[in-house]
């Protein structure tokens, strides 16, 4: 059937580069990237946006977006984003991080960026494992979850419990918008996009620090098919990491997206 341009209802966002990504088939990093790109397009801010890439599977994020980007040292993206935003407050600056980058080595940097209420946006992709380095335990790995550095399953006696970053960051007065969403099905992806849009609106309106935690899949290191991996998020991760709004300042709540 022939469809004309007038019938176009969805196409690849302009804020994504044409480069193909190296992410595994079915990895929802790609979905998160796509949502950020759609939001930048819809807000018309691609040309003033500067992204900060982490170390992890998304280390090459700077090749996948069609806007200015810098590469941070492991865990330091919120600090690098702070440096950029403080000297270029008129630009839109976001940090994109995984669970090792943000919740392990970068724990101090994310907490202090929130404490200072830096006017940046953070996209936190939580897949409960270290993907790039081959599947080690992450601070967000679930109890009993087998990884290459917890081969018998995460033993909470030895290694403690997974950290709930959004809940913790929500206790910080400097944070204006702290929410957790998931990428495991279309309804949740839609909600995730709304949250990402709201987070960038927080920055554009000068309302402070925003972070969206996204429960995400790692089919390869979870040793599941892409479709099975989405079920893992729904059945195993969501009960531990509830999908809620943990901190929404009144001025932020008033924003309609």
């Amino acid at each position: 059937m022939v469809m004309e341009k007038v019938n176009l209802v969805y196409e690849r966002p302009e804020s994504l580069a044409t480069t193909t990504t190296h992410y595994c088939p079915g990895c929802t990093h790609g979905t998160a990237h796509r949502l950020v790109a759609e939001v930048l397009d819809e807000m018309g801010i691609r040309e003033k946006t500067i992204g900060v890439a982490p170390v992890g599977c998304s280390v090459f994020a700077y090749d996948y977006f069609n806007h200015d980007y810098v590469e941070a040292a492991h865990g330091r993206a919120p600090a690098m984003a702070t440096g950029i935003k403080r000297v270029r407050p008129e630009n839109t600056v976001y940090a994109y991080q995984g669970d090792g980058d943000l919740a392990s080595i970068g724990m101090a940097e994310i907490v202090h960026a929130a404490i200072r209420g830096e006017n940046i946006t953070v996209i936190f992709v939580n897949n409960a494992i270290y993907g790039m380095t081959g599947g080690q335990m992450a601070p967000t790995t679930l109890p009993g979850m087998k990884t290459t550095s917890s081969p018998n399953g995460r033993d909470v006696e030895e290694t403690g419990y997974p950290i709930r970053m959004s809940e913790m960051l929500a206790t910080i007065d400097g944070a204006s918008y702290v929410v957790r969403r998931s990428l495991h099905n279309p309804a949740n992806i839609r909600k995730a996009k709304k949250a990402i849009r709201k987070a960038f609106e927080v920055q554009e309106r000068g309302l402070g620090f925003s972070i969206v935690e996204l429960l995400s899949s790692c089919p390869t290191n979870w040793k599941l098919t892409p479709v099975q991996a989405l079920s893992f998020i729904e059945e195993q991760m969501v009960p531990y990491f509830p999908l809620e709004d943990f901190r929404v300042m009144p001025e932020v709540a008033a924003i309609r997206v």
Binding site: M1, M3, V6, N7, L8, V9, Y10, E11, R12, P13, L16, T20, T21, Y23, C24, P25, G26, C27, T28, H29, G30, T31, H33, R34, A37, N185, P186, I189, R190, T225, P226, V227, L230
Partner: protein, 78 residues
């Protein structure tokens, strides 16, 4: 009656992950086992009539590989 839609899947980006196959409410998407993309994946493609242009496949696609079209409602002639 449901609107008609169609999709185009970009063979450069599709990794044959099957998330769209699983998500399509009309079950009209499958991986094309007869062909390989330049990267060596079996790309997704429409296998039957029935696409409504609902965009759900594009919503779940991690690679933004899908372009979606939907016919507009025919206007009533006064």
């Amino acid at each position: 009656m449901a609107l008609k839609g169609t999709i185009e899947v970009d063979p450069m980006h599709c990794k044959g992950c099957s998330l769209c196959v699983d998500a399509c409410p009309q079950n009209v998407i499958a991986l094309d086992m007869e062909h390989l993309t330049p990267k060596g994946y079996h790309p997704a493609h429409l296998i039957a009539e029935g696409c409504t242009g609902c965009v759900i496949c594009a919503i779940v696609c991690p690679d933004a590989a899908i372009t979606v079209y939907r016919e507009t409602k025919k206007k009533k002639v006064a």
